[in-house]
């Protein structure tokens, strides 16, 4: 608990940086608008203002600074605008409404969770195969490691479009991507975990005359739990990022990714920013849930992290 204060300080510093940036980022737009509203602006012509930096313009027009925080279509919205937009779209709308972020969140979350479930189960099975079969270990494992260095996430939108052109739509294409992204971290982590019992422990089981399956259930599987949870946390955030990227440039109509793009294209930056923060909160919540499960499980198994 002693790190609460430092964490709050760092968050406050980030917010302060944001608040300071709002003025120079928006001042040109605000100055143009102010001129249309017949306020006094120096310099007077828009072209002359283009030559002045954001900070310089703000210093010469101090009376315009408050306006930058409530501008309708800002380059960089202020924190309270984003918070207000989020409040409106989360609590101010019916959750079935197309303007509700809860609705869009579910559109993104459902394929993420489905894909994560598929990817994780397949990953665990492959890991068991790799640990028990030397052939699979030697032929598949290097590829599993190399595949982590490939920017496959960047190709997510293409996968959606290919499957879409084959008439496959809805949950499945997005789940496929999130399954793929959670698959490899789980494989790599589980292989490490299933191999983590040391020679002494394996020897002990041999002296008990334990069979291979008994060794698996009684030693290897429990020993892999901490590794599994570490991979699950990486996998779930990768899955969510994958689903969002898949929604971004594919003309999806719903979901966090679609909201970010719609806000950008129709000149409603607040919509984009609200979606961005909602996605961040969702990611944080998912990772948080897994950390909680991890802590409870490991505690009950007597393996609580130091």
């Amino acid at each position: 608990m002693k790190s609460v204060l430092p964490i709050l300080t760092v968050i406050a510093a980030i917010l302060l940086f944001w608040v300071v940036c709002v003025v120079p980022m928006n001042i040109h737009l605000v100055a143009d608008q102010a001129q249309r509203d017949e306020l006094i602006v120096t310099p007077e012509t828009p072209s002359a203002r283009q030559d002045v930096s954001g900070v310089g313009l703000a210093l010469r027009n101090t009376h315009l600074i408050p306006l930058t925080y409530n501008f309708v279509r800002p380059n960089l919205p202020s924190p309270h605008q984003v918070a207000g937009e989020m409040y409106n779209t989360i609590f101010g709308q019916k959750i079935t409404s197309k303007r509700s972020l809860v609705y869009h969140g579910w559109v993104t979350l459902a394929p993420t969770l489905l894909g994560f479930l598929i990817g994780t189960s397949l990953g665990i099975f492959l890991a068991v195969g790799i640990v028990y079969s030397r052939v699979m270990d030697l032929s598949v494992m290097p590829w599993a490691i190399v595949s982590q260095t490939i920017p496959i996430l960047a190709l997510a939108p293409m996968v959606i479009v290919v499957l879409g052109s084959m008439g496959i739509q809805g949950l499945f294409p997005k789940s496929l991507i999130s399954a793929y992204l959670s698959f490899f971290p789980v494989v790599v982590g589980m292989v490490k975990g299933l191999r983590s019992p040391d020679a002494m422990q394996l020897d002990l089981l041999r002296t008990y005359n334990a069979s291979k399956s008994q060794g698996f259930w009684a030693l290897r599987l429990p020993a892999s739990a901490p590794y599994l949870f570490a991979s699950l946390k990486i996998g779930i955030s990768a899955s969510l990022v994958g689903t969002i990227v898949a929604e971004l440039p594919t003309g999806a109509r719903a979901g966090f990714g679609a909201r970010m793009l719609v806000g950008d294209q129709y000149g409603q930056p607040l919509v984009s920013w609200a979606a961005l923060f909602a996605a961040a909160i969702t990611a944080a919540a998912l990772v948080g849930i897994f950390s909680l499960i991890e802590r409870i499980t490991l505690k009950r198994m007597g393996m609580a992290a130091t």
Partner: protein, 280 residues
């Protein structure tokens, strides 16, 4: 029909060969260890090629490996231009700037234990967020050329490198720091001679995680606006023209660039942290 049978045969032969090699007497030799995954990879590509022929799969859905290879050879100059635009200008610039910024912040924050305790949890939280989503915003701010891509990449790589550097700088024991104090070493000599070298394994871990992120950021950001060159641009436009072999050619280049980048960082790591147990 013939091709299906051939595919099955190739799969069986590849698997049989690997079983023989993996359970054979020489299976621990480095050559054999490199050979087995290579055989597996070649088998998969051959089976892919044969199945595409056997079922006459429309190249709009899945092109054969041979046509992808042909595309890479024919379109060499264009792929090279895309590579330069996206990887060198976009990803590398952003990677270097993001890494330097993270490193600088880590060194500054390191002087205060209070700040360190705040930065570690906040940073690892930020590293798990979908920062790619800021790509449209950066493209709007900085225009569609490589600067906006570099900015997205810089933000994406910032947090993993920051968290790892801060964690690494904490990774010295009280005994080691006491030893430096008995030598009369001040803050800077201790930092340069003890704490930075000790932090290197962590820093390289962050740098390695960031390589993949950098490529993802640079490619994804191009989907939102780019000049008429670049890997993301080529992928989305080739897709529009149903030239899937070109899309796959870019995927191959991205995969090679990703593994190459990662491999380069690993090589440097080996040279720098030769003393660490994991490298010996």
């Amino acid at each position: 029909m013939m091709a299906t049978v051939a595919a099955l045969l190739v799969w069986g032969a590849g698997w049989w060969l690997n079983v023989r090699l993996a359970t054979g007497p020489h299976s621990d030799r480095p050559v054999v260890r490199a050979l087995i995954p290579a055989i597996f990879g070649i088998t998969v590509i051959l089976v892919w090629e044969l199945l595409v022929w056997a079922f006459e799969i429309n190249p709009v859905i899945l092109p054969a490996p041979s046509s992808i290879a042909e595309r890479i050879l024919v379109e060499g100059p264009r792929l090279w231009a895309d590579f330069q635009q996206t990887i060198i200008k976009g990803a590398m610039t952003g990677y270097v700037f993001g890494g330097l910024a993270a490193f600088g912040v880590a060194i500054l924050a390191d002087r205060s234990d209070f700040l360190t305790r705040g930065i570690l949890p906040v940073g690892s939280f930020m590293a798990a967020l979908p920062i790619v989503g800021t790509a449209p915003i950066f493209v709007k701010w900085l225009g569609s050329d490589w600067e906006s891509k570099a900015a997205v990449v810089a933000v994406m790589v910032f947090f993993p490198i920051l968290v790892n550097t801060v964690a690494g700088l904490k990774d010295t024991s009280a005994m080691q720091r006491d030893l430096m104090r008995t030598y009369g070493a001040g803050y800077w000599p201790t930092l340069l001679k003890l704490r930075l070298p000790a932090a290197m394994p962590f820093i390289f871990n962050g740098l390695k995680i960031a390589t993949t992120l950098a490529l993802i950021g640079a490619i994804v950001a191009e989907f939102f606006g780019s000049p008429t060159v670049g890997m993301g641009f080529r992928i989305s436009t080739s897709f529009g023209q149903l030239a899937l072999d070109m899309v796959w050619a870019e995927i191959v280049i991205a995969a090679l660039a990703g593994s190459g980048f990662y491999g380069a960082i690993t090589l440097i790591e080996k040279r720098v942290t030769f003393w660490h147990p994991s490298q010996r």
